[in-house]
């Protein structure tokens, strides 16, 4: 998922975006412009910030459209869960490769402005094709739409970050990353809670449920993508205008990807990759399939099931910055990752083996998810030299997307054949695999005298001793 990357960048002063050097902002031209239109003034930057936040809104909103409409999609398109989960798999496939090239495309091929517009177009077209698949009752078309949507979605997140760095570097950058993240979560949450209602409204006005209703609902959902495209166009204009007025350069991701670096990756880094894959495949596919689970096992109404299914996103919006601060202040990343993984394990155990109110388990999962993002992703920077950081993150996302694509399909098959209990056991196995890797990482780090589990004070001391 793209969010993690943002989180890293938000939390890591030495993250890959740091290399994206916008030219120093020249002093403002003599105040001929009102504050809102003057690129050097805060008011204008806030306007830009608003546009940046809505730039990603569409793709986050539409990413989880299938989860929000799971029953409707399966019923109207007459597909089983395995085929339904292909909608998620098709989103992930292009990103197995694109993770490596998003930065390259932005920097070398399109430039940030055109790159953003093009990726937004992909998102829009993908969503429209996805919806047309519904209207024409062609599931393959829906899959193709998700594929196109996937091409745009993740790369758009890269472009969004680049804009943020270019406009806010050295000013309110961490806050901006935080806000963008929260906006992403809000997009997901609104989607979960809105789409089912929207479907019923469309159903009422069209007179019947069916694939046409589904298609029309998705088209209406696609308006958010158009909104994002408008933001992309406006940003491109403002960015160009700022360049003209302030003589500011186009933003660059500065990511350097060298695939040959992979052979230099250390054992702890591979363990971090495994933790990442094992953990996220037990979260996102679960959310994709969650709505029906809460309805069937716990007797939740459709709205309540949507609400609980989005709670992970809701919690992570405010908790990410808090946990980020906590991890920054305390260090000891491996212990935090261990806590997050154990919490996720406990949460899945509760969902699988008890009939306790699932709000408990889902809130735990939300906390765990926020904590993991803050503790796991920065660890990469401790075990990789800075010039390989881009490759390492690209690789991590690529593996994660590969894992998500494969596990989505497997999860759908398990659900159709053996039911939710078995699916939960499967997710428990995934998290447990992740836990195994955390324990191994701790031991390896201990044995090698690695720096992964240093407290914040130890890190400071080492930094000082290096400086001397």
């Amino acid at each position: 998922m793209e969010e993690e990357e943002e989180e890293v960048r938000a939390l890591l002063p030495g993250g890959p975006d740091e290399a994206g050097r916008g030219a120093p902002v020249t002093p403002p031209a003599p105040g001929a412009l009102p504050a809102l239109c003057d690129p050097s003034r805060l008011a204008h930057r806030l306007l830009v910030l608003l546009l940046m936040c809505f730039l990603g809104f569409g793709s986050y909103f539409c990413y989880d459209n299938p989860a929000a409409l799971q029953t409707q999609v399966k019923r109207d398109m007459q597909v089983n869960t395995t085929k339904f989960m292909l909608l998620y798999a098709w989103y992930s496939w292009p990103n197995v490769v694109l993770c490596f090239f998003g930065g390259f495309l932005v920097d070398r091929v399109f430039g940030i402005r055109w790159g953003t517009i093009i990726f937004s177009c992909f998102v829009c077209v993908g969503q429209v094709v996805f919806a047309l698949g519904g209207i024409f009752h062609a599931f393959w078309l829906m899959e193709f739409g998700r594929f196109v949507f996937g091409i745009g979605g993740e790369s758009l997140a890269v472009a969004q970050n680049t804009y943020a760095v270019s406009w806010f570097k050295g000013k309110e950058l961490n806050l901006v990353f935080g806000l963008q993240l929260s906006m992403a979560r809000i997009g997901s949450t609104v989607n979960m809670n809105l789409m089912g209602w929207l479907y019923s409204k469309v159903e009422a006005s069209l007179g019947s449920a069916g694939h046409t209703t589904l298609g029309v609902t998705l088209i209406i959902g696609g308006i958010t993508c158009i909104l994002s495209l408008v933001c992309a166009l406006a940003l491109a204009y403002l960015d160009q205008r700022a360049e003209r007025i302030l003589h500011k350069e186009q933003g660059k991701t500065g990511e350097v990807i060298k695939l040959t670096d992979v052979k230099d990756f250390s054992f702890p880094l591979w363990l971090i990759f495994i933790i990442c894959v094992g953990y996220y495949v037990a979260v996102f596919p679960f959310i994709g399939l969650g709505k029906v689970f809460f309805a069937e096992k716990f007797g939740f109404s459709s709205q309540a099931a949507s609400a609980i299914n989005s709670i992970v996103y809701v919690i992570s919006a405010p908790m990410s910055p808090i946990f980020g601060l906590l991890v920054d202040k305390t260090g000891r990343n491996i212990i935090w990752v261990l806590c997050a993984v154990v919490t996720a394990l406990a949460s899945h155990m509760m969902l699988a083996f008890t009939l306790w109110n699932p709000w408990i388990a889902m809130c735990l999962l939300g906390l765990s998810y926020s904590l993991l993002a803050c503790a796991l992703w920065p660890m990469v920077a401790f075990v990789v030299p800075e010039h390989q950081l881009g490759t390492a993150y690209g690789f991590m996302q690529s593996i994660q997307n590969l894992g998500l694509a494969v596990i989505s399909i497997i999860a759908g098959m398990i659900l159709d054949t053996w039911g939710y209990l078995f699916l939960e056991v499967f997710f428990i196995a995934c998290v447990s695999f992740s836990l195994l890797s955390v324990v191994l990482l701790y031991l390896v780090n201990r044995a090698q005298g690695g720096n992964l589990n240093y407290s914040a004070r130890q890190r400071e001391e080492i930094k000082l001793s290096h400086a001397e």
Partner: protein, 392 residues
Amino acid sequence: MRSAVLLLSLLLTAAPFGLLGEETRQVSLKVISDWLDPSQNLLHIQAVGATSTLHYVWSSLGPPAVLLVATNTPSSTLNVNWSLLISSEPDGGIMVLPKESIQFSSALVFTRLFEFDSTNTSDAAAKPPGKSYPPYSLADFSWDNITDSLDPATLSATFRGHPIHDPIGAFASGSLAFRVQAFSRSGRPAQPPRLLHTADTCQLEVDLVGASPRGNHSLFGLEVATLGHGPDCPSVQEQHSIDDEYAPAVFQLDQLLWGSLPSGFMQWRPVAFSQKQGGRESAMPCQASPLYPTLAYLLPQSPIVRAFFGSQNNFCAFNLTFGASTGPGYWDKHYLSWSMLLGVGTPPVDALSSLVLGIVAVVLGAPALMLLAGGVFLLLGHKRYSEYQPIN
């Protein structure tokens, strides 16, 4: 709390119950025909255990019905007096001897097939679930000869029927079938909903196939009548479980208990299927109404129930409705299948499969062992780490 109940019921299932609850039984299926009119017949399923015998008598005289009689001797017998049975006063036409060996007896009668038009009903729980078409009375069905469908290998037989008077030809190419299957030992069929059965149970599968519905969005329902023991009607219990391994996404098991345990029970999952494969995409909800007392003359009369229990009985009835206005339905393939178990003793309870338990043990055990081994290793090991320089 819930798991404690589960465990308790597991222990109860495993414990012997005196006369009921046998591991294996000798099961025999026999068609008992009237000498004078061989088209009149009964299906007698006799399940003989070491210390008990179960008699199931299925019949399509009148509406399809079953008598369930449990005795505490391996040598009890069924007596049928045909001339009495087909007379207008059939009392005493069916007897299980010796009478004092009878530990439990009850009956189910499948009286009517309902059809509702579910168009414009968004509320799935509404009762009735839409406009009702005139119901089919199952007493007015003609049934195929049971002898032809008798299969001693699978211990099964099928009553297949269609209405005698069918002016609109709804059943011209369709039928309603009651497939009865007995078991000599416990197990689980491959076909969903995969109810766990024991030697003390017998399974009924109701299939409605190929009949033309009277509307585009017809839902079907079945009226089931039973004997009330005492003044009150038995109740339908809904058991929630964490386990849906055998019926994906169905976390509930419904059962009707005739009295305090161990007595007789009827058990089913609240799910029916609109396709023969019975996958998740064809699963329809099956809603059961509460049992309500009813008067015998309001129901189609079953001669075998009257013959065994006499005329002084309290009847209770309830309705099962298959499907909802949205989702899969009979309209998909003109197919509807629903299964239930009928038996005595404690209803079978699903336990977590050994596969699930095994996987959980391995996946939780591995990190724990790793932690333990690593801890020991680090404790015994060297404090070399200070010799290493950090990477950066």
